[in-house]
Each structure stands twice: as structure tokens, then as C-alpha cells.
Symmetry: C2
Subunit: 151 residues, 2 copies
């Protein structure tokens, strides 16, 4: 019953956590969560990119499956950038994330919107549409990294 016990502990921690990071037991969990979800997303995004860039043959089913995961994952990392999560574990997140919250949200919303379009494009099975949507999505990654991720 180790799982139940640890879930119970996690739940207890959640119940007493500060409102600022209410979804995570501690800041390092939030940091690990956002890094993990971004990494998983990047793996799937890279597979779509390999096809969009012509490095591997285009397989419509594989592109659609991976783009769908990207669109789902794109919604997740942002909950891990709550107040008080600017430190607690190694992170490249810049302080501006917390001082420019509206702009940061706008940047993350763009990724969500463009990756949703990418998933829709991939479902059509049209490689040109995938290339266009991939480029637009990659642009939102770059814009946000340039502004909010340390080198």
C-alpha cells in the first residue's frame, strides 16, 4: 500500500500548501513538473519536426498522433510557474516570468493556440499544412524561450 500511503502524504501536503503553489507539494515539484511536461512535449514536437523538415519520411498517422500529444502537453507546463517557484531547483526560468505575468501568459497561450492548429493540420494528412503549422508553433517556442529562458 506504499502508493496509497504516498498519495495520502502528497494529498496532506497539498492540503497545507501555500495558496501560491497550491497545486504542488513544494516548489521543486512545480519546477520538475514544468520541465518534465516541456521535455515530453519537445520529444513529440521533434518527431513532427523531423517530418516537416524532410529528415524522415512523412507518415500522416505518426504526425497526427504526435501533434495531438503536443497539443495536449502544451496546456500543462504553465501551472508549474506559480508564485514562489522561481527557485527551489535548478531552472533556466527568468525572473521576468513573474514580473510580466500577463505577457508570459500571452506567450504560453500562443503555443496552445498554434499547437492546436498543428494538431488539426496533421489530421488533414497534408504535409504542406503540417510544415506551415509546425513553423508557426516553433516560432512560439522560440519567442517564449528568447524572452523567458536563460541561455
Amino acid at each position: 500500500m506504499k502508493i496509497i500511503a504516498s498519495l495520502t502524504l502528497a494529498a496532506a501536503a497539498l492540503a497545507v500548501a501555500a495558496p501560491a503553489s497550491a497545486q504542488f507539494a513544494k516548489p521543486e515539484d512545480a519546477i520538475k513538473y514544468r520541465q518534465s511536461s516541456l521535455f515530453v512535449m519537445a520529444q513529440h514536437f521533434g518527431r513532427v519536426g523531423a517530418m516537416a523538415n524532410g529528415r524522415v519520411p512523412f507518415d500522416a498517422k505518426v504526425a497526427a498522433d504526435n501533434a495531438e500529444v503536443v497539443a495536449n502537453m502544451a496546456k500543462l507546463p504553465w501551472a508549474g510557474f506559480g508564485a514562489g517557484t522561481d527557485k527551489g531547483a535548478p531552472t533556466k526560468a527568468k525572473a521576468e516570468i513573474w514580473t510580466e505575468q500577463a505577457k508570459f501568459k500571452e506567450a504560453s497561450d500562443k503555443l496552445i493556440a498554434e499547437s492546436t492548429k498543428l494538431a488539426a493540420a496533421a489530421k488533414t494528412g497534408n504535409l504542406d499544412a503540417v510544415k506551415t503549422a509546425f513553423g508557426a508553433t516553433a516560432g512560439t517556442c522560440k519567442a517564449c524561450h528568447d524572452a523567458y529562458r536563460a541561455q
Copy 2:
């Protein structure tokens, strides 16, 4: 254009990767991928558990949203257990994963099935149904960890 460049590199690596780990550039990426996706899943599962265990008040919408993420994430980690990924980065994965592949797949399929039921239960908004489905899903976590994860 750093993103495009790194995606191109990643794509190139994918193109020459051994078939055994064709989805990942190198074993450590596969290991990081499975650990990352399991961690993200566990965070969302813990939130459903906190409600199932009565540690936080039941909120049907929050339960449904989190259970849906769990069901989506449950499909992902297994691609990260390909041949040749038993080492390359710190991992608790036991050798039996690769010597008992059919049994390991059966165990992961159970998680996928039970988490799908959990998502469906959460959508009904019925806490008792969530509790039952949460327990069944947690059981699949435990069974697989007991067999295939080192302490």
C-alpha cells in the same frame, strides 16, 4: 533560429538512430522521457487521489480535468522502455522489463484501461465512482512498481 537548428539536429539523430530506440536520439532521452511522463501523470493522479481520499474537498470539474490528463499521460511512458534503454541514465527500471516484455505490456495496458475508466468516472461527477476507479487505477500502479521498479 536556435530551435529550428536543434530540431534539425534532433531529426538528424532520429534518422540515424538504431531501430531499437528509433523514437529517441539516445537512451538517456528515452529514460528521461519515461520518467518525465510518469512524473507528470503522478502529479495529476495525486490531485484526483486527494479528493478520492477526502484530503481535499471534491470538485467534480477539477477531478475530471486531472483524470483526463492522467488517461492521456498513461499512454506515453511505454515508448521510453525500448530495447537498449535499460541503462544510460539513473533508472529504477528492473531488468525484468526487457526479459518479460509481454507481461510488462500487460501491466501497462492495465493502467491505460483503468485510467480511462477513471476519466469516465470523473466525468460523471460521482465521487463514489471516482473513489472506486481511483483505487483500481492505483492498484495497477502498485502492481507494476512491485514487479518492475527497484526500491
